[in-house]
Amino acid sequence: MTAGPVVGGLRAVGREARRLRITPRFRGRELTLLLFVAFALVAGDISLGATRLVQAAQEAGEQPPADLVVLAAPTILTIYIAGLFLVHAALVLAGRRTDQILLPTMGLLGGIGLLLMIRLPQDLAGRLGGLAQTQLLWLVIGLIIVTGLAVAVRNDVWLRRYKYTWAAVGVGLLLLTFVFGRDINGARLTVTIGPFSGQPSELLKVILVVFLAGYLSENRPLLQEESTRVGPFRLPPLPYLAPMVAMWAIALGVVIVQSDLGAALLFFAVFLLLLYVSTARVSFVVLGLAAFVAGAGLLYFVVDRVRTRIDIWVDPFADPSGAGYQVVQALHAFARGGLIGTGLGGGLPSIAGRPPIPALHTDFPLAALGEELGLVGILAVLGLYLVLVERGLRIASAAQDEFRAILAAGLSLVIGVQAFIIAAGNLKLIPLTGITLPFVSYGGSSLLANSVIVGLLIALSERTREPLPPPRVTSRFRRLVDRGAA
């Protein structure tokens, strides 16, 4: 009688689903797109496998085998594609009317990253025996997070109401990194607790957006309307600039204490973008950019790391085998790739068994893709990020209230800005800052944080007419302050 409890359990699940009025809803668009993702990834994997076979035959001096249709890593790819379809099945069963484009787009980016990890030397990193296995594990955990958030988050009160608690958690994470952080390559980003290590700044970017969405949606009318007049100039209201100055100081602090230029740039850019999105005042952006230029100028003279990075950006060929080595190698990789690249597995001549760029799997995946897929390939990858941003902004414009709108805009802009910072850094468009390419780069923290973003965006995109939350009740303290001012 082992079937008894199982049947009973299924019945209980059915009852629970009926109680919550959950009915499965077919997601045709998502299914079609996921099929495209699966075909593309299988084609890429066969391309990689065939190239490897021919290379092995050439090295052995033999004729290449007749049958070239071989998957490079069948198990890893099968698990990943099966995972994507399982997430799809879970979303169908949940029956919510949510976005159907975010999951396949994220899935394709993650799959391209996975192909790259399969292709790179496996001993580059990874604690589970290889680069690709570890990346697969993180991708699967990321997909579980997406499913959990997309199915379960029906209410945003827990984000909206506790915005200062979230801010405190963020500051706590930052302090944790200051105190317990380990220096890797001169930057203090990684916190190791027991067997786990992670980069809190990745999670911090999500918390920052949640806090900013809460703060800006509450103070938007004031920020939009009030002005401080200094002579003929209309400046933004000075009291409400305090958080802006605090933000600027935090970004500077992150740079000085942690040497984390990429995260600082990301935080400040997203902050300015959200300020503009919520108030439509150009003066904020102008002031913010002025503060950025002043801060960057200051840091150039104070922090050695900033000076090195900018000097490399100005002229990487001044020291091509030392400081400028990575950037020069990346530029050569793009040049070798040309228009359509060398094909997966065809590029990257390794020096003594290692790829020429040490941080290829974390900081320079775009250079690797540029070499093997060419200009055509990286334009497609950048197009996928544009799709993610467009979906996020679309969800924002259809949102029911300001908090959700700013949250959705902020979450998608985080991904877009991060992809821009590292892609432009790889291409020597802006100084290089060590940050991950979302969903493509190797790394657990980055994948988990970006999965949280996609999960929340899918949950926020639900199209049902919920009643608006009741208008905010002013606290007694606030009322006293207002009365005192009036």
């Binding site: 668009r29 079609t32 797109l33 495209f36 993702v37 075909f39 593309a40 084609a43 890429g44 066969i46 391309s47 065939a50 190239t51 021919v54 035959a57 004729q63 290449p64 007749a66 070239l68 484009i101 396949p104 787009t105 394709l108 509450e218 103070n219 938007r220 009318p221 004031l222 309307e225 359509i340 690249g341 094909g343 997966l344 065809g346 897929l373 060419g374 055509v376 390939g377 497609a380 197009g383 996928l384 799709v387 467009e390 979906r391 679309r394 414009s397 259809a398 949102a399 709108a405 208008p471 905010r472 009740v473 002013t474 009322r479 207002d482 009365r483 009036a486």
Partner: protein
């Protein structure tokens, strides 16, 4: 050797082509979605956002979806009740006529102001304009699309 080279070329181009096929399908879906959103009539005509309210009723920051006729005043039967000592029982009305919003003072004791100047009779109202009734300030905003 030639067959192998050609096979690899085909596979490489197939991978790139499939990436663009995905993008093509996605972009078509996005465009269709945007067109549908543009056709959908917006249910709301506009919103009124409270920028200042010393009494706390309505709360500062609250925002009201507007019907074609919205009345403002101290009386509880108004669409938007203003608990302000300088507001009259039936103070003013906002009306949507054709394509524009108008504000009308309904014979209040202390007057209705738009962007600082007093309104007499019917006065057109643009999105972003600020109405002041007593100590309460309200801004007319476009409905979100």
């Amino acid at each position: 050797m030639d067959a192998a080279v050609i096979a690899i070329w085909v596979l490489r181009l197939l991978f790139l082509a499939l990436l663009y096929a995905f993008l093509w399908v996605v972009v078509r879906a996005l465009v269709r979605d945007l067109r549908a959103a543009a056709r959908e009539p917006t249910a709301e005509l506009g919103r009124l956002v409270v920028t200042a309210s010393p009494s706390g009723e309505p709360a500062a920051g609250a925002s009201f979806a507007l019907d074609a006729i919205t009345s403002l005043g101290r009386d509880v039967n108004n669409s938007i009740v203003l608990d302000d000592e300088f507001a009259s029982a039936t103070h003013a009305a906002l009306t949507y006529r054709g394509r524009a919003w108008y504000v009308e003072d309904l014979g209040s004791t202390n007057g209705t102001f738009v962007n600082g100047s007093q309104v007499d009779g019917l006065s057109p109202l643009a999105f972003g304009d600020e109405i002041q009734i007593g100590h309460v300030r309200l801004r007319l905003e476009r409905a979100r699309g």
